[in-house]
């Protein structure tokens, strides 16, 4: 077993091994949520505390990542012996050394079962888990949380509770805990909102945070000092800091950049805001795109690819902008550049990240592009360099969408981000005109 955990992760591990009931573990960006969850799973099983454990997440990508982490901790042979991946075959990573099966007998024979929330229906309703770890709880909703809980109910506990005084049970989390469900719910409400309708008020992890105990990881292993400071101040994590070994990490280039791009790519500046005045365009049922920003992103990617082999990713809030950037990137013949929306970028990282803001209008309405969660995800994917491409003034004075029953909007969190970058954590530059052509 090979594992190296920081002090925060060890504290959470110790806490969850010695406690029952349902609890939340908040993991800001790069703090190793999946590592902590996987380590907890392995320890619970290895020490015989748990006989049958369920590891569940909303997306197949997250479950696969969990599976890889467990393989790294246990080694492939042990992982094959103890774990099984189930659910929808189309979503599995074929290179995983863990067996995939939907056969109830095969699943029953293993100690750790990995599955997506929506595939839980395929598990036999008679299967019982005495411990469970639920990842990505920030994008899940109450019903997603209850789906694995159903498989952890101990009917005897429920019966005993009915015979005792049950007036103290006042919410769903208490009810689930009183029925013998043991679960660690991992996520970060400041990075994601529940999937689906905008009106969903509370994510799965927020349900647990409201009624159950919680702990927060505070050491990031991804973000260098300036970025961790920016993310901490922006999302108000109350003490997020970089791990000492990566705090002073800076971008190292193989070649020096073209003078046009020198200021934009400056390796000493971790965060650069390229103030672009591109025109926003409404596309699709509710999406937006900004053609100039898309072109600029593609040009910077081309230059970066020429001067470094580091991983590059482009992040944007809007799916239409992602589509347009992808097309420009493909037309430039660039390979291995990942373009994703902020939702798709959850759980991913890259050495250099470009963030296209898209929105730019005289009313300075930034709408969904200015939500705390989306901005937080976008600025926290980079390991060495973050380049923000978009109109600074719109963000600095941004308004969230006006509520239908009011003449007044809400001040967008984008204001705080713009202020923090301008005053403390980054550099605002105007682009050379040749880039915007």
């Amino acid at each position: 077993m090979s594992l190296c955990l920081d002090t925060e992760q060890l504290r959470i591990l110790k806490w969850r091994i010695n406690s029952k009931g349902i609890a939340a573990c908040i993991g800001p960006p790069g703090c190793g949520k999946t590592t902590t969850g996987s380590a907890l799973a392995v320890k619970l099983v290895a020490e015989g505390i748990t006989d049958k454990l369920l590891l569940v997440a909303y997306t197949n990508a997250a479950v696969n990542e969990f599976a890889w982490e467990i393989c790294n901790i246990m080694g492939p042979t042990a992982a094959r012996e103890y774990c099984i991946r189930t659910g929808n075959r189309a979503g599995i990573d074929c290179e995983l050394p863990i067996e995939f099966s939907i056969n109830a007998e095969r699943i029953r024979a293993k100690k750790i079962v990995l599955c997506t929330t929506l595939s839980l229906k395929r598990l036999s309703s008679y299967m019982r888990f005495d411990n469970m770890i639920i990842d990505e709880a920030g994008i899940e909703r109450l019903e997603h949380l209850l789906a694995p809980f159903v498989l952890g109910v101990n009917q005897l506990n429920a019966f005993q509770t009915n015979n005792r005084n049950c007036n103290s049970i006042n919410n769903l989390i208490d009810l689930a805990s009183s029925c013998g469900i043991v679960a660690t719910v991992i996520g970060d409400p400041k990075q994601s909102r529940p999937m689906g309708l905008e009106e969903y008020d509370r994510s799965a992890i927020e349900w647990v945070l409201k009624y159950g105990p919680k702990d927060t990881l505070k050491i990031t292993h991804r973000l260098p000092d300036k970025l961790s400071g920016l993310v901490n101040d922006f999302a108000r994590y109350d003490g997020l800091r970089s791990s000492p070994d990566i705090a002073s990490r800076r971008l190292i280039l193989d070649k020096s950049p073209n003078p046009i791009y020198r200021e934009i790519i400056d390796p000493e500046e971790v965060v650069t805001w390229l103030n672009i005045n591109g025109e926003e365009k409404a596309l699709g049922q509710s999406s937006w795109a900004n053609d100039i920003e898309a072109k600029v992103c593609a040009k910077i990617c081309r230059e970066l690819r020429y001067i470094t082999k580091k991983s590059i990713a482009v992040v944007t809030r809007f799916s239409e902008q992602r589509r347009i950037i992808t097309r420009y990137v493909q037309r430039s013949g660039l390979l291995n550049i990942k373009v994703s929306t902020t939702t798709g970028a959850l759980g991913t990282q890259a050495d250099i990240v470009l963030f296209s803001l898209v929105r730019n209008n005289p009313e300075r309405i930034v709408g969904q592009a200015g939500t705390l969660q989306d901005l937080n995800v976008a600025i926290s994917r980079a390991k060495e360099k973050l380049i923000i491409v978009g109109n600074f003034d719109t963000m600095l004075n941004g308004w969230s969408r006006l509520p239908s029953n009011s003449r007044y909007g809400y001040k967008s969190p984008s204001r705080r981000l713009a202020q923090l970058i301008d005053s403390k954590y980054g550099k605002l530059i105007n682009p050379p005109s040749v880039i915007c052509e």
Binding site: K121, A158, C166, N170, L175, L283, E320
Partner: protein, 468 residues
């Protein structure tokens, strides 16, 4: 253009874009409590595996285009010989479907019954006998056939999937295959209500008005060895009941306070069938709530659960929003203008033509490389028929696998779907519209289970005794 597509999407947020399926209307027609059991409560009734029935449906959906219509003999007295001929001519279709279904079942770790092949063949033969014995005797050979058509009537919030439609020069006939067992169709049960609901949809398909019966010739539930045909004209009170129950279902989905009526005889509760204990539980729950007998903490917890149930249902309504937007635009500007406008926003995609198919993967191509499509998006591929409302035209669902310049690669649900699409869809001009998967039941079920758990833990047994 005075209505903007984006404004329409935003405007529709405030209205309800629910669609009620014909099968749900039929459930409500049997007992309104039964409908509520599924929505909003989330009780899933029955774990029955429909592997055999689905295979038979797939075979019928392909055979109706070839062997059945080709061997159609009007007023025949040799139904036995015709049946055997159709079965012989369908042998390759049967073999392919059997193979594909078994492959699918083993992939999904579903149990394949030992007598699977035999059962499928028997049931297929039984249905063909029903067609030859009853339908061929009464009706001439159809000019054209369609199978597995999804019809959406957004104005009436109604959607349904019809097993087969036979088109004649003077109207249409509607067929429903009863393939899940070999019993006779029940003339007073769910199947008949579903049939009448589907007739309303078919009327809409052919005349644009569900109450226009001018094109309707007959409707039939084809069962093993026979066919049930409701007496014509369909009684007004039956049509009225369907409309009433459709409104009830729609209003329930919208979260309105609608009181369910228990009929004199409910086929579930009055026969102690599966699901009756859940139904009684919710009815008792409502009675205790009305009498103020529920503990405060139980009311609080179940209140939270109900809140979430209606949010899940709202999300179900969301999945139908594209259809409502398309329908509103068509109503306002006519089909051609509306399609052009929706194309600009990436809601509708046209110009693709079928190129080739390999297994379930199908390649389409168009002349230009402008596209809004992206992998993983789900599409309803509609074959635009002349003088038929867009959302009533023949269609199939598929998922985008890849988009490369002018090429579009889609994954269809099964080989049978591709086969069917080749027969009735790919030759028509194709219109693709965004679609979504409905996961409502899967989302509601845990909420139901926790509702029952809350009752087990928080309500003392004596309270139920008092109720009795």
């Amino acid at each position: 253009m005075s209505i903007s597509v984006r404004q329409l999407y935003r405007g529709l947020e405030k209205t309800q874009t629910h669609l009620v399926q014909s099968t749900e209307i039929a459930t409500a027609s049997m007992c309104q409590h039964l409908f509520k059991l599924s929505y909003p409560y989330g009780v899933s009734r029955g774990e029955r595996d429909y592997l055999i029935a689905n295979a038979v449906h797939d075979i019928m959906s392909i055979a109706i285009h070839g062997p059945i219509t080709e061997n159609w003999h009007y007023k025949t007295k040799q139904s036995k010989e015709i049946t055997q001929k159709i079965v012989r001519d369908s042998s390759s279709i049967i073999e392919n479907i059997l193979k594909d279904t078994k492959e699918y079942a083993s992939r999904e770790a579903r149990k394949i019954p030992e007598t699977f092949d035999q059962d499928v063949r028997e049931r297929f033969e039984g249905l063909v006998t029903g067609v030859a014995k009853k339908l061929m005797k009464k009706f001439e050979q159809p000019n054209r056939t369609f199978s597995e058509i999804t019809i959406t009537n957004p104005q009436k919030h109604h959607e349904g999937r019809i097993d087969a439609i036979l088109e004649f020069s003077n109207g249409y006939g509607l067929l429903d295959w009863k393939s899940y067992d070999i019993k006779k169709a029940n003339g007073s049960g769910k199947e008949r209500w579903q049939l009448i609901s589907n007739i309303l949809l078919s009327n809409y398909r052919y005349t644009g008005d569900e109450d226009d019966w001018s094109k309707f010739r007959f409707a039939s539930i084809v069962y093993h060895g026979g066919a049930y045909m409701p007496r014509l004209p369909i009684q007004e009170k039956h049509i009225g009941k369907i409309k009433e129950d459709r409104l009830f279902s729609y209003r329930t989905l919208c979260g309105e306070k609608v009181y369910a009526q228990k009929p004199k005889f409910c086929p579930v509760c009055d026969t102690n069938a599966e699901g009756c204990s859940d139904c009684r539980f919710y009815r008792d729950d409502a009675r205790m709530a009305f009498a103020g007998q529920l503990p405060d903490n139980y009311r609080k917890i179940t209140g939270q659960l109900f809140g979430n149930r209606y949010k899940v249902l709202e999300e179900r309504a969301e999945t139908h929003r594209h259809k409502y937007v398309a329908s509103t635009m068509i109503e306002a500007y006519g089909e051609r203008t509306a399609i052009d406008e929706l194309k600009k926003y990436g809601i509708i995609h046209t110009g693709y033509k079928f190129v080739s198919a390999d297994d379930t993967i199908v390649l389409f191509r168009k002349d230009d490389d402008e596209t809004f499509l992206e992998p993983k998006k789900i599409l309803r591929i509609i074959g635009k028929e002349e003088n038929i409302p867009l959302l009533s035209c023949v269609s199939e669902q598929a998922t985008v696998i890849r988009v490369e310049y002018c090429d579009l690669i889609l994954n269809f649900r099964s080989k049978a779907t591709v086969e069917r699409a080749k027969l009735q869809l790919f030759d028509l001009p194709l219109v693709m519209i965004r679609d979504e998967i409905n996961l409502t039941r899967r989302m509601l079920e845990p909420l139901h289970k926790f509702h029952r758990l809350a009752a087990d833990v928080l309500i003392r047994k004596e309270c139920y005794d008092d109720l009795k």
